[in-house]
């Protein structure tokens, strides 16, 4: 990768406009020498941000169990959690929802705008700040006094870098999960009703006979649930789901950023009238959009368990692994969704990184080692300095519950790679899968 050392940055339209609000990042250290400085990584290395959304099908069996399991799963650990409060939106029927309906839902509900709001910690008064951007970007930055209402070249570069490195790499991942029902719906309903008949107890009947509808409703509802539990428990064998995962990317480019900072930015020092005006404009803005990248289809594999496990474990494992595979599939299809992982250890011609089978690492995969450098204008660039191959029997099995089932490689805590080619590799450098 060639590092292009840019000359003096263009005078942005941001500068031309007499904006009332500005945001400036200040590099606290090593700010004098910018030319291709390796940047530190550590825990924060500009990870992509993700907002996972579940589409359940409440009419199907196991729907509520899948809901709770999905919502209890942690955010994939190679991504920053950018979830909004709505994490589950019901689909219809028993089949996957058409992508157009999902796209329309996201558009009509202004999800893109809400994700921008989250990036800039917008509060109820419409006031933004850059704390989250600084934190996730590890910019070692300080927000200066915005009352000065000016934008330094350095600050502009940092904002542009944050936009390209962070905000533009914000994704909505919509998982449409359908339980593969091997029985016909009619049969299921009949079974449920039969169980009702057995359990829907005297309480309901007695209450009903007394003309007490409320009590009858409660009692029969509780009894019905008991029956449902039995049904659920006895039919878990061969639990299988089909997952169609749709991927959307937040559209954030120079034009969008420019308009956002110029027309909509509000901070605590913005005059009240102007704040109200900008707040209203932002709320009505059609500036922000999501781009549909594509989808990935996964059908869960046969589950094999060792040791002690519960039925919830079965659902958890099936769903978690299906989602992990979907993420891997989407990464392979869309470069922009690929994650970078820091090298944690270097020993001779081998390196280690905390990435494994969950992220799709196999003996056939290849990785590049990237050196993160900072260009003269403050923007970040990546330079490939070597390639890596996972070593046999040294691939970490970090898939969901792999350790509990004592899978081979699950006792490792990182994957060991052989370095192809000569390079001075250091811990903290990033690796990324290549085709």
């Amino acid at each position: 990768m060639e590092i292009k050392v840019e000359g003096k940055p263009k005078k942005s339209s941001l500068m031309k406009k007499n904006i009332l609000v500005s945001v400036v990042f200040m590099i606290a250290s090593a700010s004098v020498l910018f030319a291709q400085q390796p940047k530190p990584t550590g825990d924060k290395y500009g990870r992509s941000s993700i907002y996972p959304v579940l589409i359940p099908h409440p009419q199907t069996k196991f729907s509520s169990q899948i809901d709770y399991v999905y919502l209890s799963l942690p955010t994939p650990d190679k991504y920053e959690n950018h979830s909004l409060k709505v994490r589950r939106v019901e689909g219809f029927g028993e089949k996957w929802v058409d992508e157009k309906i999902i796209t329309e839902f996201l558009e009509k509900n202004n999800v893109a705008r809400r994700m921008v709001e989250k990036w800039f910690n917008r509060d109820e008064n419409g006031i933004f700040n850059v704390d989250l951007v600084a934190e996730r970007g590890n910019y070692n930055a300080t927000v200066l006094d915005v009352e000065e209402a000016r934008m330094s070249t350095r600050g502009l570069a940092m904002l542009a870098d944050a936009g390209e490195e962070l905000i533009d790499k914000t994704f909505v991942m919509v998982s449409d999960i359908v339980y593969v029902d091997k029985e016909k719906q009619a049969q299921t309903a009949a079974t449920v009703l039969r169980i009702f008949g057995e359990i829907a107890s005297a309480a309901a009947a007695a209450a009903a006979s007394d003309g007490n509808d409320d009590a009858a409703t409660v009692a029969s509802g509780v009894s019905a649930l008991a029956g449902l539990g039995a049904l659920v428990a006895s039919n878990l064998e061969g639990f299988t789901v089909k997952v169609k995962t749709h991927l959307y990317q937040l559209q954030w480019n120079e034009e969008v950023a420019d308009e956002f900072y110029t027309r909509y930015w509000v901070d605590k020092n913005t005059p009240e009238a102007e704040r109200m005006n900008r707040k209203e404009m932002f709320d009505k803005s059609g500036l922000f959009h999501l781009k549909y990248l594509g989808s990935y289809v996964d059908k869960s594999e046969q589950t094999v368990f060792k040791g002690l496990y519960s039925k919830e474990d079965v659902i958890k494992k099936v769903c978690a692994r299906a989602i992990d595979r979907s993420i891997v599939g989407l990464q392979q299809a869309y470069d922009v969704f690929k994650v970078k992982t820091p090298i944690t250890n270097v020993e001779g011609s081998t390196v280690q990184a905390q990435i494994g089978m969950k992220e799709g690492v196999s003996e056939k995969t290849k990785f590049e080692v990237l050196q993160r450098v900072e260009k003269e204008n403050g923007r970040t660039a990546y330079r490939r300095i070597a390639t890596l191959k996972p070593q046999k029997k040294q691939i970490w099995d970090n898939r969901f519950m792999a350790y509990e089932e004592q899978a081979e490689g699950s006792n490792l805590n990182a994957t060991t790679f052989s370095v192809v080619g000569a390079a001075n590799i250091l811990p903290g450098m990033l690796i990324r899968q290549i085709k």
Binding site: S64, R114, L225, V232, L308, E312
Partner: protein
């Protein structure tokens, strides 16, 4: 519909009697929030009953009741006891379960409790686990139905682990985060009010933030 609810300790091993008393002291006779059913529950909405929107939280008084006896009284017929004994045998045959001791069960459900070396779990009548033996206590949750002057068992359990509490359904699914105080459970549900819309709806602003 606001109805009083009774939370009953189902697991009462001798070794745990002391801590059990502590639980009673802490919660019995005091106002404890628990889930209560509200609105109409139809057969079609069975699964949704487990969602918080179908429950309301309220301060209610918990009666001091011997949970074990309560469970026994609901155990019902001889068939149920036979089923329980058969299950106990199946569980004993599970080599992964050590020092197994069956301790009781809520009769309405086909879910049974067992004690595995001081940790409690739940199993379905076929011997398969619905909850691994990882809980210090499992509580049944009852709802008082004043119209029939009796309690109805709710399809949720309160479990404790390392002095933290959570709600699980009878299937063993954990419905809330683990909280230090049961009173915190009302805000700890994994599914919130924001999660009850469908793809054709415009979701109001307040549900997004």
């Amino acid at each position: 519909m606001f109805l009083p609810v009774l939370a009953v300790v189902l697991t009462v091993p001798a070794a745990a009697q002391e801590s059990d008393n502590a639980v009673k002291e802490a919660y019995y006779g005091k106002n404890v929030p628990v889930w209560q059913m509200k609105g109409e529950v139809t057969n079609m909405d069975m699964q949704k009953v487990l969602y918080p929107k179908n429950f309301s939280w309220d301060k209610v008084t918990v009666s001091e009741t011997d949970g074990k006896e309560e469970v026994k009284s609901q155990s019902g017929s001889e068939n149920k006891r036979d089923e329980y004994n058969t299950l106990a045998g199946k569980l004993q045959a599970n080599k992964d379960l050590k020092a197994l001791k069956a301790v009781g069960f809520p009769g309405v459900y086909d879910v049974y409790l067992f004690d595995n070396g001081g940790k409690f779990g739940m199993a379905y009548k076929d011997g398969k686990l619905t909850a691994k033996p990882e809980y210090d206590k499992i509580y049944a949750v009852y709802q008082k139905v004043p119209q029939i002057d009796d309690y109805a068992l709710l399809p949720v359990f309160m479990v404790s682990r390392n002095k933290e509490y959570a709600l699980v359904d009878l299937f063993g699914s954990v419905l809330t985060r683990f909280c230090k105080d049961p009173e915190m459970l009302k805000d700890a549900c994994l599914i919130s009010e924001s999660d009850h819309f469908n793809l054709k709806q415009i979701i109001p602003d307040k549900y997004w933030k």
